[in-house]
């Protein structure tokens, strides 16, 4: 009897902990959705459950600033850097993971340390570079700077994945005299695509969320990416922040990301652990 009560208590405590974790994780986003549906004075009354359903915030966020253009910019620059990083990453990681050569370890360490650079440490040099090639306040200039973030990351994770593949995979092809390029395109690409999807997705999220470069290397509203646009939404004064608009914009850019993450849950976890644990 006593033991039963104790195990019941343990179980209740466990589920209480689970509930606390879920509420802590989900509540802020839930509250943002709630706020995004509220206008006028309803916005400033604290409520824990949905009370109003007005879409006017979602409409006005596109009127006050070129938010549609900002979304396009974010997609454009993120897709561009992910495609470039994957293209260069897959060949480079083949060389790093499957071929033994002098200086390979040093090269890997260098690539890893680039991905740990504090962004601000390259800020003035990058600013000068982007201005020198005439791409200040342009998506292409931003793409140049993003390569510093996504390329080493992509190479690192793809190398970790590529190492896991069995030796025999390429041996037969190499014996038959296939060129390394054939080995990559015919042997590795077909088995690497899940890893490429994972890596591409992580790099996409990285570029989509980037803030410091986007804030510094763009000037006009039309050229801004989504995070900068949201950070700079402001009212007539400090005391008139349009919280409804800010929350609507936040929900718009976050929902696709959350859907992607939930669909590719397992892949993302494997990508994150490949990048970190294997180090």
């Amino acid at each position: 009897m006593n033991r039963n009560v104790k195990s019941l208590m343990m179980k209740a405590g466990f589920y209480l902990l689970v509930a606390a974790i879920v509420i802590f994780a989900v509540f802020p986003f839930y509250y943002a959705i709630l706020t995004a549906f509220e206008t006028g004075s309803a916005l400033f009354d604290v409520n824990y459950l949905p009370e109003s359903f007005s879409f006017s915030n979602y409409l006005s966020v596109f009127e006050g600033q070129p938010f549609g253009r900002n979304i396009f910019n974010s997609i454009f620059v993120s897709v561009m850097v992910v495609a470039l990083s994957l293209l260069m990453g897959v060949t480079a990681s083949y060389a790093l993971a499957r071929v033994k050569f002098a200086g390979r370890g040093l090269l890997l360490v260098t690539i890893l340390s680039v991905s740990m650079f504090p962004q601000v440490a390259v800020l003035s040099g990058m600013f000068e570079l982007i201005r020198a090639v005439g791409l200040y306040n342009s998506m292409f200039g931003l793409a140049i700077s993003y390569m510093m973030l996504t390329l080493p990351f992509t190479v690192w994770i793809l190398t970790a994945f590529m190492r896991e593949l069995p030796r025999e995979l390429e041996e037969a092809a190499v014996m038959d005299g296939a060129s390394p390029w054939t080995v990559i395109t015919r042997v590795f690409l077909p088995v690497m695509w899940p890893a490429m999807v994972t890596t591409g997705l992580l790099a996409f999220i990285m570029a989509w969320n980037e803030f410091l470069f986007a804030l510094t290397f763009t000037l006009t509203n039309e050229q801004r990416t989504v995070p900068v646009a949201i950070a700079l939404i402001s009212g007539a004064s400090q005391f008139e922040m349009p919280w409804g608009n800010i929350m609507a914009a936040s929900v718009i850019v976050t929902v696709p990301l959350i859907v992607l993450v939930l669909i590719f849950q397992r892949r993302i976890v494997s990508g994150l652990t490949a990048g970190a644990v294997k180090g």
């Binding site: 802020p28 050569f101 800020l123 510093m148 950070a231 929350m247």
Partner: protein
């Protein structure tokens, strides 16, 4: 034998060929800007006229004129930023590690709806830092925020707290947001380590009737420690360069200004590229030394990693 070695040589040649585009790009977008930042650190460059600078030696770092000290190393604001960064890193990474382990242990249990809970835990990680900072900014609002409302109705505080503006609570707010956002990362990495553990030692412990808490500290923790250390280092290096959350949540607040925020303020807002680059260089050195110290202590062998 001779044929095999020629094959190996051909493979090596093509390996370098494959590496070249990536290395050239990295040299252009990472190596060159970094080098330029180092050089700018020794000049009096200004953002309005980036080309017209002259070298000033170590003046941006340290100089003495007529008994008065100049330069970053004599700049109280810089030292405040250094202290803020270290404080932020130590507290938030510690909290994230402890909470991450707890969440991972929960997710490692078999229970109904585990998949859903794991999905829910991933949500904060998926949300852009700027968005999470804005969401918490609104929840922490001094007049209309839900946090103040909640704490007041629970009787924990008597009057509303201006979380992000108050010097005493600004750092608390920043750490809270960071912990919320990055605990999932720690939890997932810890969970991956937990799932790789052999189950037989747990069986043995359970048969022997050892208390689960004791099992955790004596068996589980030592086994997952290597993976945990890697996760902690990744997070710590990330925290040392923190910018986004602080810039949005507590702009222009000296109590939360970190090295990255201070360096960018010098570079962009004050247009002092020389002085700001010197600050960036120091931040880079701090992080570089942290990585090197970790490599020495941990003796991570990257070449053989994974096998």
């Amino acid at each position: 034998m001779a044929q095999a070695s020629s094959l190996t040589r051909a493979r090596r040649r093509s390996a370098w060929l494959f590496l070249t585009p990536m290395l050239v790009i990295l040299a252009c977008v990472a190596g060159w800007p970094l080098l330029r930042t180092f050089i700018f650190g020794f000049t009096d460059a200004n953002l309005s006229d980036l080309g017209g600078y002259s070298f000033v030696g170590f003046e941006n770092f340290y100089a003495v004129y007529d008994g008065e000290k100049f330069g970053l190393l004599a700049d109280p604001e810089w030292w405040q930023a250094v202290w803020n960064t270290i404080y932020f890193t130590v507290i938030s990474v510690s909290l994230e590690t402890v909470l991450g382990i707890i969440v991972a242990l929960v997710l490692n249990q078999e229970f109904k709806g585990r998949g859903l809970v794991r999905a829910a835990v991933l949500i904060p990680w998926a949300i852009p830092t700027i968005v999470s900072a804005k969401m918490w900014n609104w929840m922490l609002h001094d007049q209309f925020g839900i946090i103040n409302d909640l704490l007041m109705s629970l009787g924990l505080i008597a009057s509303p707290v201006a979380w992000t503006a108050n010097p005493d609570t600004a750092m608390v707010a920043v750490i809270m947001v960071d912990v919320w956002k990055t605990t999932p990362f720690m939890a997932l990495l810890t969970l991956a380590a937990l799932q790789m553990l052999p189950s037989d030692c747990y069986e043995a412990a359970r048969v022997d009737g050892i208390h689960p808490v004791r099992v955790f500290f004596k068996v589980t923790l030592p086994l997952i420690k290597p993976a945990l250390m890697v996760a902690v280092i990744f997070r710590a290096l990330d925290a040392l360069r923190v910018f986004d959350v602080i810039y949005v949540l507590t702009p222009n607040n000296p109590n939360t200004m970190t090295m990255s925020v201070y360096a960018r303020q010098l570079l962009v807002d004050f247009q002092e590229v020389g002085y700001g680059s010197a600050a960036s260089t120091l931040l880079f050195l701090v992080i570089a030394f942290s990585i090197m110290a970790y490599m020495m202590i941990g003796r991570v062998r990257l070449d053989e990693g994974g096998h």
